[in-house]
């Protein structure tokens, strides 16, 4: 079927299928799934600026469902989410303007594509390494598998930043942390969200867990709450700039809504480190897809 806004012809059932897959991933891992959906759309021939905008649009609808489920399970720290969103919105706007500048320079595909590959590879390697380390700690020390994190030193140093104002996050079991740390996480992930067309969860969840010391299940739920806001704002600003095909987004979302419910339910049957170990392979798939398309389209030469 032809999608006149983006100017591409794609089978709508294939789009719903992509939505279904990323919906499961999103509900389970607490990420928008854009780091898989984006590469898949780009691989199918959707222009990169539409990949970014449309991906954010479909994630907005999907994350509402998933965030509601996680909130019902008590996995959302509203206070953390609301503070973080201030930084996120500023980051999203900056990212959307960066895309416009790249579009004008005719370098969207190259810059965004290569950034995708590098970031996804880094996340994949780091998360696999850390979760294997954490699982070894569980086996040897008999620690609670839900909460163990292999980067306690990093967390201690971050919590040692005494830049006022300091806030407490009772919902995440944190007594005092600088508000600037939370805002910085939002700013960075918001910028990534708007430049790569992702919710930012594949960076935000590891940051919340490793750097801030938020329990994995709360990080997953709070991230989804954050995605609703960041993806919603990203949709609006990208649509104004002509980067959203809402027909494609609606089609993808029908599949994603189902997957998100299955994914959210499944988190209760896995421990924190195991969720992170499963998560580590996903960015790798996205990286391979983007690389294939970049080479196939002649954007990158070897």
């Amino acid at each position: 079927m032809h999608f006149p806004i983006a100017g591409v012809t794609i089978n709508p059932l294939l789009l719903a299928g992509i939505g279904f897959i990323v919906g499961i991933l999103g509900g389970f891992f607490g990420v928008g799934g854009g780091f898989i959906a984006g590469p898949l759309m780009y691989w199918m021939g959707v222009p990169m600026n539409f990949v970014v905008g449309t991906d954010l649009a479909h994630m907005t609808g999907k994350s509402i469902v998933a965030a509601r489920r996680h909130r019902a399970l008590g996995h959302v720290d509203i206070k953390l989410g609301l503070i973080m969103v201030v930084g996120t919105v500023v980051g999203v706007e900056g990212g959307a303007r960066a895309i416009e500048a790249l579009k004008a320079a005719g370098a969207v595909d190259l810059v965004v594509g290569v950034s995708y590959v590098l970031i996804l590879l880094t996340i994949s390697i780091f998360t696999a390494w850390e979760s294997l380390r954490a699982l070894r700690m569980v086996r040897t020390d008999q620690l609670d598998a839900r909460e163990v994190v292999g980067f306690r030193g990093v967390r201690r140093r971050i919590h040692g930043i005494a830049l006022p104002p300091l806030i407490s996050l009772p919902g995440s079991g944190i007594e005092a942390i600088s508000v600037w740390v939370v805002l910085l996480v939002g700013l960075f992930t918001g910028f990534l969200a708007a430049t790569l067309g992702v919710g930012g969860g594949f960076v935000r969840v590891p940051l919340l867990v490793y750097a801030l010391g938020i329990p994995t299940h709360v990080a997953v739920g709070t991230d989804l709450f954050e995605i609703v806001i960041s993806a919603g704002y990203g949709t609006l600003t990208h649509a104004i700039k002509g980067n959203v095909d809402v027909l494609m987004a609606l089609t993808m979302h029908t599949g994603a809504a189902l997957g998100a419910q299955i994914g959210a339910t499944a988190t209760r049957f896995f421990t924190g480190p195991r969720i992170r170990l499963l998560f580590s392979g996903l960015p790798l798939i996205g990286a391979v897809l983007v690389l294939m398309r970049l080479i196939g389209s002649g954007t990158v030469h070897f």
Binding site: A16, G61, I64, L236, A239
Partner: protein
């Protein structure tokens, strides 16, 4: 996972799958074919209105699908996992 939980999960999944499959088909016919032209016109004539409508449509669809599923699960009535 307990076998009872697994049974409930699979049953809920099958029912929700039926509902969403129907909705996907409906969107393929209605949303894509009927909305395609007016949305395309709006995209070319007024991007701000298109942006607001796009956000409204995707949020409304998200809320609608959630409500439909919850309603169905309550009506059948399906056992929910606690």
């Amino acid at each position: 996972m307990k076998s009872k939980d697994l049974h409930v999960l699979i049953r809920n999944f099958a029912i929700e799958m039926l509902v969403y499959s129907g909705l996907v088909l409906l969107y393929s016919v209605v949303a894509l074919r009927w909305l395609s032209e007016p949305l395309c016109r709006l995209f070319n004539s007024n991007l701000l209105a298109y942006a607001v409508l796009s956000l409204g449509l995707i949020v409304a669809q998200g809320a609608l699908l959630d409500v439909v599923t919850a309603f169905l699960l309550d009506q059948l009535p399906l056992e929910r996992l606690e």
